[in-house]
Symmetry: C2
Subunit: 325 residues, 2 copies
Amino acid sequence: MKDVAARAGVGLKTVSRVVNGEPGVTADTERRVQEAIESLGFRRNDSARVLRKGRTASVGLVLEDLADPFYGPLSRAVEEVARAHGALLINGSSAEDPEREQELALALCARRVDGLIVIPAGHDHRYLEPEIKAGIATVFVDRPPGLIDADAVLSDSCGGARAGVAQLIAHGHRRIGFIGDQPRIHTAVERLRGYRAAMEDAELPVHPSWVSLGSTAPERVRGAVEEMLTGPEPVTAVFAGNNRVTVTVVRALAGRERRTALVGFDDIELADLLGITVIAQDAALLGRTAAERLFRRLDGFNDEPAHMTLATRLIARGSGEIPPQ
Amino acid sequence: MKDVAARAGVGLKTVSRVVNGEPGVTADTERRVQEAIESLGFRRNDSARVLRKGRTASVGLVLEDLADPFYGPLSRAVEEVARAHGALLINGSSAEDPEREQELALALCARRVDGLIVIPAGHDHRYLEPEIKAGIATVFVDRPPGLIDADAVLSDSCGGARAGVAQLIAHGHRRIGFIGDQPRIHTAVERLRGYRAAMEDAELPVHPSWVSLGSTAPERVRGAVEEMLTGPEPVTAVFAGNNRVTVTVVRALAGRERRTALVGFDDIELADLLGITVIAQDAALLGRTAAERLFRRLDGFNDEPAHMTLATRLIARGSGEIPPQ
């Protein structure tokens, strides 16, 4: 680490921050440290160390959907950390199917990965208990594990949604709709909880027709927008529960004369040009934090499992600041 | 296959189309066939068959960048085909570094994957010859292999760019800029070739300041836009060589008073709402075609290696149809 610090021209604490994926390092500094690590061949040492321990130098990642842009930076970050530790990343996606999640996680265990990072589709992870006991380090990310005690790295879904809805309220809205993902998905429920909390904070009632959870298929979301805007208690603003929902809500609202305010959970590419106000989570930081935790476990870190929650960030770009019509 | 056809209520030919990833099947029919395949446990049979042959039932995918949205649907499609064949997908990304590509591909071979799908970063793939001779099926996708003979599935980069530039010419442009990726990337060169061909078709000269290849980093692309618009022979239209370039060009043009026409290679999410005209390639079809080819090879198909080229599609949405100012 001393050599890396000297070559990168930074202090030891900065190297430690980069290696452990902690905040407070600029992109440029991080790049220099990573370059120093690579040019000094840290990876090879790590690899040798892993092999000495009788490990396979591979970790598994069970994603929800490889094609969802939210998971791109997350897997990329996991891969970078794995690579820095000389380990190969094996991944696959559950397509939001609990059975497929289990099948994939166990297939990875059968291939003797050293550790697993799981974005769970299901709510019962007791099937992993024998694997965890057998020494396979396991960290959950984006959503918590069900019925077992394990490390998890989550975004503050409830707090983020609460801040997003509060933004709409601050701009004069009283009738606000919430369109979210399936109610069996933890983040969907947490974001709904944040919506309800913000409404309660402002002592606003929530009409039953203002809340719609379900598939993120465009037809379903379009229908929900339509109902909320034309129902008996039409909303003047919509909070969209994730990136897939936001994209469809933006399309649905684009064709309408009356302007409807919108805040979406998750940032989206080109949202800046479309002026979409979002609650951004840092997908890369989620991945990096989870992966660093996993390698700390593989390195012998033996504390009780913990759930870490990362803050979200409101980015006001206009759509959330449209006043009620 | 008869059982699958009966359960899905379709003909044998349709099942064959779905299994082989051929076109001409609606999304709904494909879903029904996939469901029939899964409920009849085809996957398990495949897996058993693979295991009987002494295989490891895993394939490797070497991507360029896990976080590039173009590769999301591509890897998802490869995974779906692998899954239908009972094989696990192991992937990683080269980050456009030829050494890292080689290191990753050989690490996957060392783990005894049955086959490899490679989006190459480098131009010399002779390092894979011993592996291919040893029986590891290998298919290249998105870019061709270098110095070896192997299967490849490519998009028609040259034809697509030619059609996109022709669209700008058809709308009255005579001075058109081309901003592309690094010149060592095959698709960048092919798309530039398409640009030159379209200009030549219309007997238009190409001023040297109109062509800019290099990194897709926003600063570099912004600089190129600036130079082309303010140089001695200012352009009235820009052709962007890939999705990363398009995103930055759109941002750079958004702040300017004079409207500049734009056609981008690759479709982008929300491009419809921003009215961006694009040359779309089908990333999922690229992935599926490559993966189906790989499994045909694993099944004993033994013809000479071939390069397959998939057509691109012009989607006119307004930005490419802006007349010269």
